[in-house]
């Protein structure tokens, strides 16, 4: 099996699963319980929080454990909007956000907020000048995706953060779900107030996530009914999940340097191979993230190509898993101005540290066969 759909989800590390099982069996008490078993679980959770904070070079009280990327994005965006709406109801984001942000902004529009969606250029990047010009007296939030999940474009979030430093009343949220473990991001340097991460994108488990919330930033909670997670997220903590995401993050960071180097080499080889196949255009910018390669195949329905590769035990995807069941062109590729035809026929390959050059070679071979065959049939 060749699994090239790591932006949809990754396979959990065995050690991560083991930690989850051990904690579920041994430390099952509720950390809010007063007895010593509760105390033990609470210590374990504190340890996890400390581990994650250390890895991200932030403080333990700036870490909120969530159920994943969608919850992180929702908590950050709705949380800021609802909490600070008396100060202003203007929000800024981009045209190329993940659905869990994008749709949240649409929802907020229905509640009377005004949203500026920054357009992007052909590489999928926003303009910093346009960002600065869009900020108004009543702007309370800027939310940007760091690494785009469909094409891998890296937004200049550090420079955006430097601009936003001039506007201390504007909060800055970054969706770092695709970036973590692949494209380093210094939260302090980028002056980020809130940052969303998801466990299952870096070999953790589904249902685990991290939201960084800078000390002093206040949010309206999505879930109320308890004091857990610094009053931002009520509900009995998923301690096993929390420990497992701490472990996944540590392991990913340990492997990151070598892993990114591998991914870069695999990506380079795939890009080179793709250029030899007729009718393929590359949608991923040259300076994109090391793990995403997005391309369009002229005249071939992407679903058909995916099923063809599937028969060879090769797994790739069309676009974001969260939007893959929608018909029609990719919103991201349309925003990049690549045209309906390309936006209708996009395929995404997404890598992990584990993928190899040999796998890339096989995929290229099978892809070439499939494309030639399908172009004849469908053309």
């Amino acid at each position: 099996m060749i699994y090239f759909d790591n932006s949809a989800t990754t396979k959990p590390y065995k050690e991560v699963l083991d930690a989850f099982v051990t904690v579920s069996q041994t430390y099952f008490a509720n950390p809010s319980s007063i007895h010593s078993k509760g105390g033990e679980t609470e210590r374990l959770m504190l340890q996890a929080r400390k581990t994650v904070a250390g890895l991200l070079s932030v403080k333990p009280n700036e870490i909120i454990f969530t159920s994943g990327g969608t919850e992180g994005n929702n908590t950050a965006i709705k949380g800021i909007a609802l909490k600070h709406q008396e100060r202003g109801k203007h929000l800024i984001t981009s045209e190329v956000e993940h659905a869990s942000s994008y749709e949240t902004f649409h929802y907020l529009e229905s509640l009377g907020f005004e949203v500026t969606y920054l357009p992007v250029n052909g590489k999928g990047e926003i303009s910093l000048e346009q960002l600065e010009n869009s900020i108004r007296e009543d702007t309370i939030l800027v939310s940007l995706i760091h690494v785009n999940n469909e094409v891998g474009t890296i937004q200049p979030v550090v420079d955006a953060g430097k601009i936003l430093k001039k506007f201390p009343k504007v909060f800055f949220h970054v969706d770092h779900v695709q970036g973590i473990g692949k494209v380093p991001l210094n939260l302090k340097e980028a002056a980020i107030d809130l940052c969303t991460m998801s466990g299952h994108k870096f070999h953790g488990l589904k249902g685990t996530g991290i939201l960084y919330k800078r000390e002093g930033v206040s949010l309206s909670p999505l879930l109320t009914g308890g004091e857990q997670e610094i009053n931002v997220r009520a509900g009995t903590e998923n301690v096993a999940g929390i420990v497992s995401i701490a472990k996944a993050l540590r392991m990913s960071f340990d492997k990151m340097d070598a892993g990114v180097e591998t991914m870069n080499r695999v990506k380079e080889q795939i890009l080179e191979g793709l250029s030899d196949i007729q009718g393929i255009s590359i949608n991923t910018p040259a300076d994109g993230s090391p793990h995403i390669i997005n391309f369009s195949v002229d005249g071939v329905k992407p679903e058909v190509l995916i099923h063809t590769l599937d028969q060879k035990n090769i797994y790739v995807s069309t676009r974001s898993a969260c939007s893959s069941k929608q018909a029609g062109p990719s919103r991201i590729l349309m925003a990049m101005g690549l045209g309906q035809k390309r936006a209708n026929t996009a395929i995404r390959i997404s890598l992990s540290y584990e993928n190899t050059l040999e796998e890339a070679e096989i995929v290229l071979k099978e892809l070439k066969n499939a494309v030639v065959q399908l172009q004849t049939v469908m053309g």
Binding site: V23, G39, L44, L46, Q47, K59, E215, K247
Partner: protein
């Protein structure tokens, strides 16, 4: 060009005459321990400063760690160049450019302690300044209010160029000021008091009073976690846990409620004094504050203080609560301190503690505690001692992470 050195400058130390060498070696030892996780870094001695070779380690993390060391006045990231004009100019430009596109104005402050170097400091200022101007755009010199001060120091072992200077923790190196015993409750004030005591170069041990089942394991854990935080500033620290249940129950039983708080504190102080003597501590430190709550009036302090002759260091005595909270947030103890578990000072609190307790009355009531001396000795004999070290955090769940 990468930063390759960290220059550590001392504060008050340079003033301390004869003790200076002792202070410096004490500080160098602390710095060495502090940087031990950065295995490639080398700590060097140099006249009136400490020099650290970065050797490819993460310099930002190193600076953050060094900012926890008392006795350091300032920390600069530097590029070392050979004592040769061209390489100095080149390194100065590289250092300047590291500070981003932001700076619009700068000045050069050259100092030449190596008098064999042929170029004088005035001329160096001009040469280096001119080189930066030639190789940048929209940058000008402002000697009065520059955005960036490019420090060029010509030493015997090379020229060190730095623009980025971080404030150190100030104070005096730990170990030069004797030892004190901190009374650590678990609240916001006492860890801050411990931090500030250490800032004056004082080595610390701490005592915590534990009254199970009236106080929980989590309250004790809180004290332990606070100690772990304080190791960032104090290195290796010991916490003595006193089992206080028996005395506390006795007080509840025999002492009029309005004086129970006063007498409990007197008992704590007596026990602390005994431990201090055993541990060779010359003073007691605590988080007492004037007028904050009923038990912390000057009357109360006067009556409680009667039982010991040891100096009591009260670093937060004059501070507003908000000032104390500020420090506790800065030093990382606040979030631990606000965990909602009761400690010895908050259980058995009478409805109306005396705000003006008197010494004579306290003495009279204490006569009801017939075997007081034995009680104190028993408490001292049964202390549990836990040691904390910065780089040896609890490994309870290590295999899970």
């Amino acid at each position: 060009m990468q930063y390759n050195h960290i220059v550590i400058r001392f504060g008050e130390l340079s003033l301390k005459g004869k003790n200076r060498r002792h202070f410096e070696s004490q500080l160098r030892e602390t710095v060495r321990k502090k940087l031990s996780p950065f295995t490639n870094a080398v700590v060097l001695k140099s006249y009136d400063r400490i020099l650290v070779e970065i050797n490819g380690e993460d310099h930002e993390k190193m600076v953050a760690k060094l900012q926890e060391v008392f006795g350091i006045h300032a920390i600069s990231l530097a590029i070392r160049a050979e004592n040769e004009l061209e390489s100095i100019k080149e390194a100065a430009l590289a250092t300047f450019l590291k500070n981003g596109q932001g700076p619009k104005t700068f000045k050069v402050s050259a100092r030449r302690s190596n008098k064999h170097f042929p170029v004088g400091s005035m001329e160096l200022n001009r040469e280096v300044g001119g080189h930066i101007l030639k190789n940048t755009e929209n940058v000008s010199v402002d000697v009065h209010h520059p955005d960036i001060d490019v420090k060029v120091e010509v030493k015997d072992n090379g020229t060190f160029i730095s623009c980025e200077t971080y404030p150190g923790a100030g104070g005096l190196p730990i170990g030069v000021g004797g030892k004190a015993l901190l009374m650590l409750s678990g609240g916001i004030d006492s860890p801050v008091a411990g931090y500030l005591t250490m800032k004056r170069g004082v080595r610390l041990e701490a005592v915590h009073f534990h009254s199970p089942p009236f106080t929980s394991e989590r309250a004790r854990q809180k004290a332990e976690d606070l100690m772990q935080e304080l190791t960032r500033y104090g290195g290796k620290l010991k916490l003595h846990i006193v089992h206080f249940t028996k005395i506390q129950q006795l007080i509840k039983e025999k002492i009029p409620a309005s004086y129970s708080m006063t007498i409990m504190r007197r008992m704590m102080l007596r026990i602390a004094e005994r431990i201090a003597e055993e541990r060779n501590a010359m003073a007691i430190a605590n988080g007492e504050n004037l007028g904050q709550v009923a038990s912390q009036t000057m009357y109360s302090m006067h009556t409680i203080n009667e039982v010991t002759n040891l100096p009591i260091i009260r670093p937060v005595v004059t501070m507003d609560k908000l000032e104390i909270i500020d420090i506790s947030q800065k030093i990382g103890t606040y979030d631990i301190s606000i965990r909602p578990y009761e400690d010895c000072c908050t259980i058995f609190v009478p409805a109306a503690p005396k705000t003006k307790p008197k010494r004579e009355k306290a003495n009279r009531f204490e006569q009801a505690l017939e075997n007081m001396d034995e009680l104190i000795q028993e408490a001292v004999d049964t202390i549990e001692t836990v040691t904390f070290e910065e780089q040896k955090e609890r490994t309870e769940f290590e295999d899970l992470f």
